[in-house]
């Protein structure tokens, strides 16, 4: 019988609807197939519910005693010493002393053999039990290994997030640093505030340039720009005549807010104009992309 056929018969087996021949065929298959045996157990557990819901009745008190009296030697323990005692010992009593001794000797040898057989059977039984226990232990080990493997996978996934977290931390530190500079600059007396306006390419954008008197560093705060991909940046230029100086770069967050520290190496006010364009992250030292912001820092 194949598993497919067996699976179809299992509900009938549990319900008792197989005839004796079909039942014997299925049981023969079950003795070799743990998978189908497991299905049978589930089905028997379900039908045993029918029995467990019946009104209970008490068997005779004598039944247990009768049962225990009838217990035969189990098949694997069938050989017992008592079976090998000579039943005709009384008849041998009258025999010659030598004969009696021979019989006794023979009986002793047989008993010894029986004992050995018994021990052998016991050993078989014990090794079967040990095998069963080992199989159970192996199953548990497989389960524990599976759990450990799942945990390791989870830890690995977490460790893969570490570079992303480190990058986020660095970005956060930079923002904090910029905020400190901004606060410091706002607290400096005589800060010049210049309005920065969006170009036709970014009409919603605007901002402020905060410049300390005579300083070579300033702070640019903008809003209303679109966030750029990682390979692009908003590049700040200070211009005078044909000169273009890279003075800082920034990107904006999802709300369109951005800020940058502007440094020119010369007093900021020396440059009449400020321009912001979109450039590749490591672009050339002259503007190539569209202009998005502009301001007159000091009238030429």
């Amino acid at each position: 019988m194949r598993c497919e056929e067996a699976q179809g018969q299992i509900p009938l087996y549990a319900a008792g609807a197989l005839d004796a021949r079909q039942r014997a065929r299925l049981e023969s298959h079950l003795s070799r197939c743990p998978q189908c045996t497991s299905e049978v157990d589930k089905a028997l557990t379900a039908t045993s519910l029918l029995a467990s819901e019946l009104a209970e009745q008490e068997p005779s008190m004598l039944l247990k005693r009768r049962l225990l009296r009838k217990l035969p030697a189990q098949p694997w323990r069938r050989v017992s010493a008592s079976q090998w005692e000579p039943s005709h010992r009384w008849q041998l009593a009258g025999a010659a002393v030598l004969g009696a001794l021979l019989v006794a000797l023979l009986a002793a040898i047989l008993m010894l053999n029986a004992r050995i057989g018994d021990v052998g059977e016991q050993n078989k039984k014990l090794s079967t039990l040990v095998d069963q226990r080992l199989r159970a232990l192996e199953a548990e080990t497989r389960e524990v290994t599976s759990v450990i493997s799942q945990r390791l996978t989870a830890v690995e996934a977490e460790s893969q997030m570490l570079p992303t977290l480190a990058k986020a931390q660095t970005q956060l530190s930079q923002v904090v640093q910029q905020q400190r500079s901004l606060v410091y600059m706002l607290a400096t007396p005589g800060v010049q505030v210049t309005l920065v306006q969006g170009s036709p390419a970014a009409p919603a954008a605007h901002g402020m340039l905060l410049t300390p008197t005579g300083g070579s560093a300033a702070f640019l705060v903008v809003v209303g720009l679109e966030r750029l991909p990682d390979d692009k940046t908003y590049q700040v230029w200070l211009t005078k005549d044909t000169q273009r100086v890279k003075a800082g770069a920034f990107n904006v967050d999802d709300t369109g807010w951005g800020q940058a520290r502007i440094e020119a190496g010369s007093p900021i006010v020396w440059f009449p104009f400020l321009v912001v364009t979109i450039e590749p992250t490591h672009g050339p030292p002259w503007p190539t992309g569209p202009r998005v912001l502009g301001a007159t820092v000091s009238p030429p």
Binding site: A43, T45, L50, L63
Partner: protein
């Protein structure tokens, strides 16, 4: 060592080692259930006791065939008890030449089947729980379970008795089992 404190599986292992006290303990735990099932089906105290005795002798002889991973010793014992009981019922039927396919079963524990079976079921002295449990099954599935489990009819006999194709009987049995398993889940859960 107090055998009463041991679980069924351990007792079964001790039975394998030839400990009569372990079998006695299993009998004390499950003997009443086996006897009650046999009584419900056979309606004969002497025959039910004989079956119960045979079941535990069978356990004594076949304990080695129980695989510990299987789990439910109680269901295994009830399963042996049920098969022994319907074997006895079928043998008695053959002997008395009764229980032909035209005959209506004499009793119908806890169940409400269709037609005559239903009328007889009401008269049975069975547990209300069982009636509730079977009440969850559709009538045609309940009928198949009653005829198989409590009346010992084979699938072929049930098919002829209910005028249904054999495949329908198999399907109804499978569906009824699934519902019982679901009910079992809700009991355990």
């Amino acid at each position: 060592m107090g055998y009463q404190s041991l679980d069924d599986r351990t007792l079964l292992e001790l039975v394998i080692l030839g400990k009569e006290e372990a079998l006695e303990c299993l009998y004390e735990r499950h003997g009443r259930r086996v006897f009650s099932l046999a009584m419900a089906i056979l309606q004969d105290r002497g025959a039910a006791e004989e079956v119960t005795q045979e079941v535990f002798l069978d356990i004594w002889r076949r304990a080695l065939t129980f695989v510990p991973e299987r789990g439910n010793v109680s269901a295994w014992i009830i399963g042996i008890g049920h098969h022994r009981t319907i074997d006895s019922l079928r043998k008695r039927r053959r002997h008395r030449n009764v229980g032909s396919l035209d005959e209506t079963p004499r009793h119908s524990p806890g169940g409400r089947a269709s037609g005559n079976l239903e009328e007889e079921a009401v008269e049975q002295e069975t547990g209300l729980h069982l009636q509730n449990l079977l009440g969850h099954l559709p009538a045609e599935q309940r009928e198949v379970i009653l005829l198989a489990y409590f009346h010992g009819y084979t699938q072929v006999e049930i098919a002829r008795k209910t005028n249904q194709p054999l495949g329908t009987v198999k399907t109804r049995t499978r569906l009824a089992l699934q519902k019982l398993q679901k009910a079992l889940g809700s009991f355990e859960g």
